[in-house]
């Protein structure tokens, strides 16, 4: 990053190629749309470029990068003209019901079509569970899960104390458990209820 700060184009290119995937991953699951996540990822790199002089040696770059990403995403989410809150409830899942998740994951390769279907469904349900979280819980989960950040680092990104992060993550994981546990145990799919805020 110091090379970027000092004006190296090659260093900036290297920085983009190294971090864009990680950034896109977090933003994709934070805002829920691949297209918007790509726009935001580019916006973050633009801000990194414009603010490069404020980067200080010794600062961990990924923390600084995701702090910018957090601000950019928060602004984007705030500016959505119509916000949808997602509430998930366990329900009977009809034809797909009754198949515990862990059994699905254990499906053999000989059952590939079913397995592929199950994986797609699992992905969808996990995505829905994640979207059921508040924006800040979601960010904390993504930084912890995919960036492997400590509570202190997440706190630096989100401007929270480590204790607040601990509490935030605990509530987030409990919410995820509430949504996913019925599916684990009984194959009960959550329902997605959308309503205006």
């Amino acid at each position: 990053m110091l090379d970027v700060r000092d004006g190296s184009a090659a260093a900036f290119e290297e920085l983009v190629s190294r971090y864009q995937g990680r950034l896109l991953m977090v933003l994709r699951h934070l805002v829920g749309s691949r297209e918007q996540a790509e726009d935001l990822t580019q916006e973050v790199f633009l801000r990194v470029y414009r603010a490069r002089q404020s980067y200080q040696p010794g600062a961990k770059f990924s923390t600084w990068l995701f702090t910018i990403a957090n601000h950019v995403a928060a602004n984007a989410l705030r500016s959505r003209s119509r916000c949808h809150e997602v509430t998930l409830q366990p329900r009977d899942s009809g034809a797909m019901g009754g198949r515990p998740l862990d059994k699905m994951l254990q499906a053999s390769s000989g059952q590939m079509p079913a397995r592929q279907l199950d994986k797609a469904e699992t992905r969808e349900i996990v995505q829905m569970a994640l979207e059921s979280l508040g924006e800040r819980q979601r960010m904390a989960v993504l930084l912890s899960k995919f960036e492997g950040m400590s509570y202190a680092e997440i706190g630096a990104v989100m401007e929270l104390t480590p204790q607040a992060v601990k509490s935030l993550l605990s509530r987030a994981r409990e919410s995820l458990r509430e949504v996913l546990q019925p599916y684990f145990d009984d194959g009960v799919r959550p329902t997605r209820e959308l309503h205006d805020e």
Partner: protein
């Protein structure tokens, strides 16, 4: 918005379990949780549920960017960078604009492959730039000539004629088609593109009238039947100009064409007396370097303590040209003055030099009175140092350090003066000022401020970006 920052009650069991899974508990809390896990099956079950929920997040889509995405990102940033440059130039008052440009010039000079070079990744055809390319690549030459008639006057007087081809051969960039120019730009290295951008910025910083005049001059030369010869004369005239002091060049530029021609003729005849040939130039240069080597300690003692310490950091091969540059100011005065021996030089040194010159030059020198001999030697030495600068053999202060010096140490008026110079002259002057350790005229008002390196640099920050915290 969730109230995450409110005071927290004692950690719940879930919080402790999650922190345990995340490896965030201190030793005592971890021991406590492990005791609970050993003794309480309900706690164990709870931990397993939390862990399983966490692990299932691995099923989320991986969002991989494609190559096109990377390219688009770089292009977008490059374009924004370019727009920033334009806006800064357009919005800033003249002085600030020049200062900004100055910082940009220094940085661009310092950073081969600098950041703004990314703008070349943009698909924007930059039509005007392509059109101006031959002008931009020879901007300093065009600025010194400013009228095609002057080139013809030089030719008719037999000056700067037949001195060889243009660098890169006789091919004329003026005959390139726009497509060829576009391809030429695309084939440039990042450093070359950076240099071209720097030239473009300098050109655009001129007022509209000057821009128009230079374009017309370029067009006139391009359309002339003797275009190649005129360009060669322009090039060699400029090469000669670069060896002249700044004030002389400024003076020449202010004269009308006929007077300028006469002045050039006179200077070519009188300046520094007879020129040394290659062999004698080499002998002189070796003699000068030997002198500096032998007298380094005494020369250093004449410098302020801070400058002496600074010089001591450099290796010998760097220190020597630095000392030569420091001495050059004195030699220039000796060349124009009463002809005393330069500092620390004795008649023995003069005799030693005479012994190394060719017989013809030695005889010419010996035919002069002693004071005139010193005057002539000082002029030769001054010319030799300037030639070293012109040919880039003495860029011994690294560009980054120079850029820092320029940005933080020089007063506004000094920066403005430097900016009025062509690029190479600006660089040379900057080196000279740096080496001389010239203090700004208002140095007293700066007293008490910490050295530049310890001051926080003036930085343009994006308010939307948080300050990075060291060690975070």
């Amino acid at each position: 918005m969730m109230n995450d920052d409110s005071p927290h009650p004692p950690a719940s069991l879930d919080e402790q379990l999650v922190a345990y899974l995340d490896g965030e508990l201190d030793a005592e809390s971890r021991r406590h949780v492990e005791e609970l896990l050993t003794s309480d099956s309900e706690v164990r079950r709870r931990l397993q549920e939390l862990e399983r929920t966490w692990n299932v997040l691995d099923n989320l889509d991986v969002a991989s960017p494609g190559n096109q995405f990377t390219q688009t990102t770089l292009e977008m940033v490059a374009l924004a960078a370019h727009q920033d440059v334009r806006q800064s130039l357009a919005a800033a008052p003249r002085r600030r604009r020049r200062r900004w440009l100055a910082a940009g010039l220094c940085l661009l000079a310092a950073l081969a492959g600098g950041f703004f070079t990314v703008v070349w990744l943009t698909p924007d055809p930059n039509r005007q730039l392509v059109e101006d390319l031959p002008l931009l690549e020879n901007l300093d030459e065009y600025r010194q000539v400013d009228d095609i008639e002057f080139l013809r006057l030089l030719r008719n007087a037999g000056l700067f004629v037949g001195r060889g081809e243009l660098p890169g051969g006789p091919a004329s960039p003026a005959v390139e088609t726009p497509l060829q120019r576009q391809q030429h730009i695309e084939s440039m290295s990042l450093g070359e593109k950076s240099q071209l951008l720097r030239l473009e910025e300098r050109f655009l910083a001129l007022d509209q009238g000057q821009q128009r005049q230079l374009r017309q001059l370029h067009q006139a030369i391009q359309d002339a039947h003797d275009a190649l010869q005129l360009r060669q004369i322009m090039h060699h005239y400029y090469e000669w100009l670069k060896t002249l002091p700044l004030y002389t060049r400024t003076e020449l530029g202010g004269l009308d064409l006929a007077d300028r021609l006469e002045s050039v003729k006179k200077r070519l005849k009188d300046d520094h007396g007879p020129r040394l040939g290659d062999r004698d130039s080499e002998a002189l240069w070796k003699w000068m370097n030997r002198f500096v080597l032998l007298h380094e300690r005494q020369l250093l003692e004449k410098l302020p303590e801070s400058r002496r310490r600074e010089l001591a950091k450099w290796p010998l091969q760097t220190r020597q040209p630095m000392l030569l540059t420091l001495l050059d100011g004195g030699w220039r005065r000796q060349a124009a003055g009463p002809g005393k021996a330069p500092a620390l030089m004795t008649d023995e040194d003069l005799a030693s030099l005479r012994g190394e010159l060719s017989a013809e030059t030695r005889l010419d020198l010996e035919s002069l009175p002693k004071t005139k001999q010193w005057q002539q030697v000082a002029a030769w030495m001054h010319y030799a140092v300037r030639q070293q600068h012109v040919h880039g053999n003495s860029s011994f202060v690294d560009d980054e350090r120079l850029a820092d010096f320029f940005e933080k140490e020089l007063p506004d008026e000094e920066r403005d003066r430097l900016l009025s110079l062509p690029g190479d002259e600006m660089q040379r002057e900057l080196q000279r000022l740096y080496l001389k350790g010239i203090k700004p005229p208002d140095a007293s008002s700066r007293r008490g401020r910490p050295p530049a390196g310890e001051r926080p640099a003036k930085k343009k920050t994006d308010k939307s970006a948080p300050p990075a915290k060291p060690g975070s």
